[in-house]
């Protein structure tokens, strides 16, 4: 059983994409929670679903579609400290999802891609296109490199914008760069667990890690580790579930989300 698991190229690619997405999202997620931008992260994911639908309609790589639209969404969201930022994010999210509904409608009626809604919204890690693994790995490494370069000013700006500005950091530029990194992490997660479930990998492991430690570097390392562990456990469980209910599928995205939630609940329980 285990031999078959690791020998399958589908499983290898799923482990690679899921792991890369979870590692980057865990670290970006800690910044996202500290900055109070969880809703912005989720809004980008929902907006990116229209990119996935567009890619399907045009027959281009879904990764390009997800990334393009979430970058556009990030530019639209703009500043984070405005009083009405959650309302603006919400309304943009609604428009993005409306666009997804239309593009999926066309994709299904013109190209006959049945099940497109499921693939884009809830992901299909086992059906990733060939070569996606390399792209995911490259994207995650680029994201990690960017964080390593910006670590100190970004962390300071996330905790206190005023203090960072006093120390001479370019806060507006950091805001924009962070939204770009958020778009990258949302893209990778959308490839793994689907656009609307990508928030599980972004917020889940980071929230668990922040319950267990208050030191940002430790929280980031822990979040990345937990995320990768959950993604891999989810893939293994989905593989094992093949024979549980004949003819019915247990989606891999469900298992990954369930692992993420369970680790959070255990951490919250232990901390009281």
């Amino acid at each position: 059983m285990l031999d078959g698991f690791f020998a399958s190229t589908v499983v290898q690619s799923a482990l690679l994409i899921g792991g890369a997405a979870a590692a980057l999202s865990g670290i970006i997620g800690v910044f996202t929670i500290l900055r109070g931008q969880s809703f912005a992260g989720h809004a980008l994911a929902d907006i990116s679903s229209s990119g996935g639908a567009l890619a399907l309609l045009l027959g281009i790589s879904p990764m390009a579609g997800f990334f393009g639209l979430s970058l556009l969404g990030g530019l639209g969201l703009g500043q984070r400290r405005r009083a009405d930022s959650s309302l603006v994010a919400g309304i943009m999210l609604g428009a993005g999802l409306g666009l997804t509904a239309l593009l999926l409608h066309f994709a299904v009626s013109q190209r006959g891609v049945a099940g497109a809604a499921v693939t884009i919204m809830f992901g299909s890690l086992f059906a990733a296109p060939p070569g996606a693994g390399a792209w995911a790995l490259g994207g995650a490494l680029a994201g990690l490199l960017l964080i390593a370069c910006l670590y100190r000013p970004l962390l300071l700006a996330s905790l206190s914008e005023e203090l960072a500005a006093l120390r001479g950091a370019k806060v507006r530029l950091l805001d924009v760069l962070f939204l770009g990194m958020l778009a990258l992490s949302v893209t990778l997660s959308a490839m793994s667990v689907g656009a609307i479930l990508s928030t599980a990998l972004l917020i889940g492991p980071a929230a668990t890690a922040l319950r267990l430690t208050r030191r940002p570097p430790a929280a980031m390392a822990l979040a990345a580790l937990l995320g990768v562990a959950c993604a891999w456990a989810g893939v293994a469980l989905a593989y094992a579930s093949y024979g549980w209910t004949p003819g019915r599928v247990w989606p891999v995205s469900f298992f990954i989300t369930a692992c993420v939630l369970l680790t959070y609940i255990i951490a919250a329980w232990r901390r009281g």
Binding site: S38, G41, I203, A268
Partner: protein, 265 residues
């Protein structure tokens, strides 16, 4: 466009939009957009579970939405509000994905539940929608002052948590009834676009509330009319028109510099 088989769709949509306009006004003032987006997702696994067990949809929706409120409150202890909402949202979505997948009606059911199938409404959907359109405004008007005060200055209201629970339950009810009409993802547009525009334009809470309801109903009517005329999904027009409405209201205010409510600056 007014063909008889579409008639119940029009009636149900109008009733849902009426209730959503009321609820949405408080969503905007209390800055609860994220909760308003997450709670319809709570109803989503309910609908999926109902499909799995082969029972009627709306009791499943109702139970699941209330469970979603409970989950949200449990997660909110010792966690930032927005991160807790995100966790509740993915927990419920993940469950919904599982139930739908196990029910074996995955692809079509997903599209319907997420983006809505308003023209698939039957006359049997009218009584629950009517109950919603009567009960939600009644509850909101009964608690109009405490809800409004809690929205404008949370520190003032003693027992703020109680108002919070009450409001989230009303929100969950609205969401679960609206779900089959507009879909889990686009109930939300009705509860943010028109009320956001109304709060931008109105000078007092009362006119704001009335404007919000009128705009919500007008929005769903235009979306349905455009959808019937083009054959494109109604969800597309709902989401995009809501954003355009909000944008237009903002530009109008910028041009006029009219007085505004203190909520959404």
């Amino acid at each position: 466009m007014f063909a008889s088989y579409l008639l119940s769709g029009w009636i149900v949509a109008s009733l849902v939009a009426f209730a959503a306009g009321f609820t949405g006004f408080f969503v905007v003032l209390r800055r609860e957009s994220f909760a308003a987006h997450a709670l319809p997702m709570a109803a989503f696994p309910g609908a999926a579970a109902a499909a799995l067990c082969g029972v009627a949809q709306w009791p499943g929706l109702l139970v699941a939405a209330l469970l979603g409120v409970a989950l949200l409150f449990w997660l909110k202890r010792g966690q930032r509000r927005d991160a807790a909402t995100a966790l509740a949202l993915v927990a419920l979505l993940g469950l919904g994905a599982l139930f739908l997948s196990l029910s074996g009606r995955y692809a079509n059911a997903v599209y319907g539940l997420l983006f809505g199938q308003i023209f698939a409404s039957s006359p049997a959907d009218i009584p629950p929608a009517l109950a919603l359109a009567v009960l939600v405004p009644m509850a909101l008007l009964m608690f109009f002052r405490p809800l409004l005060l809690g929205a404008l200055s949370p520190d003032f209201t003693a027992g703020g948590a109680k108002g919070d629970v009450l409001f989230l339950i009303i929100l969950a009810l609205t969401a679960s009834f609206a779900l089959p009409v507009t879909g889990a993802l686009l109930v939300f547009s009705l509860m943010t676009g028109p009320p956001g525009a109304a709060c931008t334009l109105a000078a007092s809470p009362r006119t704001g509330l009335m404007l919000s309801v009128v705009l919500a109903v007008a929005l769903i009517w235009s979306a349905l009319a455009l959808s019937a005329a083009t054959g494109w999904p109604a969800g597309f027009f709902t989401g995009v028109l809501a954003a355009l409405l909000f944008l237009a209201a903002r530009m109008w205010r910028r041009a006029r510099q009219a007085p505004q409510l203190p909520g959404p600056a």
